[in-house]
């Protein structure tokens, strides 16, 4: 199998990162913003795994990407619990209409 050029992986990662940033900026539903953040995590992981190929004995990139996945899973669980509480209280998940922290 031919070697995938490193630049192409980095360009794909940059495209995924930009799409994630665009979701975070333009979308106003809290869950879609979370999905954009997951896309950004994936772009970062892709870079880590791509550079890990040049670190064959230590494989630090792959191990670090595993820890990033653990943190992303924890973040998604807590953030969605917060979104659900906010929806129960405000009856909306639109971030522009949520403008107070206390009851």
């Amino acid at each position: 199998m031919e070697e995938i050029p490193l630049e192409h992986i980095l360009l794909l990662s940059a495209a995924l990162f930009s799409l994630g940033v665009m979701a975070v900026i333009t979308k106003r539903h809290a869950v879609v913003v979370l999905m954009g953040i997951e896309l950004i995590f994936n772009a970062a992981n892709l870079n880590l795994v791509a550079f890990s190929r040049y670190d064959a004995t230590l494989m630090q990139g792959q191990l670090f990407s595993l820890f990033v996945m653990v943190v992303a899973a924890a973040e998604a669980a807590v953030a969605l619990a917060i979104v659900l509480r906010v929806y129960q209280y405000f009856r909306t998940a639109n971030l522009n209409q949520i403008n107070q922290l206390n009851k």
């Binding site: 192409h8 333009t26 999905m35 791509a50 595993l66 899973a73 619990a81 929806y87």
Partner: protein, 170 residues
Amino acid sequence: MLFYIFALLAVLSGAYMVLTRNLLYAGFALLVTLLSVAGIYVLLFADFVAVTQLMIYVGGVLVLILFGIMLSSRVHDQSVLSESVNKVWGTVITFLILVGLSHTILHANLSALPWLQAADTNVLGAQKSTVQTIGIKLMTDFVIPFELASLLLLIALMGAAYIATDKQNV
């Protein structure tokens, strides 16, 4: 060749996730993106990371997100459609970020870096998979982050359960 198919799938479904207004369609577009990224991990000789991606992201995070969508909007209602704001400025900023990153990557001349040229790219070596190496590393060099990750997951589990509980009825 397979890499470019996966890359195209990932970017197209990612773009669809950003452009569509329906939350459920966005969730399933994210599913395709995550699966394509898992395929790219396999092509990069990271089989354990690919399986973890499938189990944690596709099996865990995406199901959580779909539950979040269904619990925070009515599917036959306007609330399953998400409005977009700052479309022009968001697109401009995204495009500028993309151009800046691509320009940097293409002009960095990565293949001339000495540590990349000297690197041994034979990841697998004599083994058939990276699982053994990752297992040994997790129990030796990375044992403290590994234990901290387990603690973090426990705290996240407790925190999420506590936040999601309706305190008036307990």
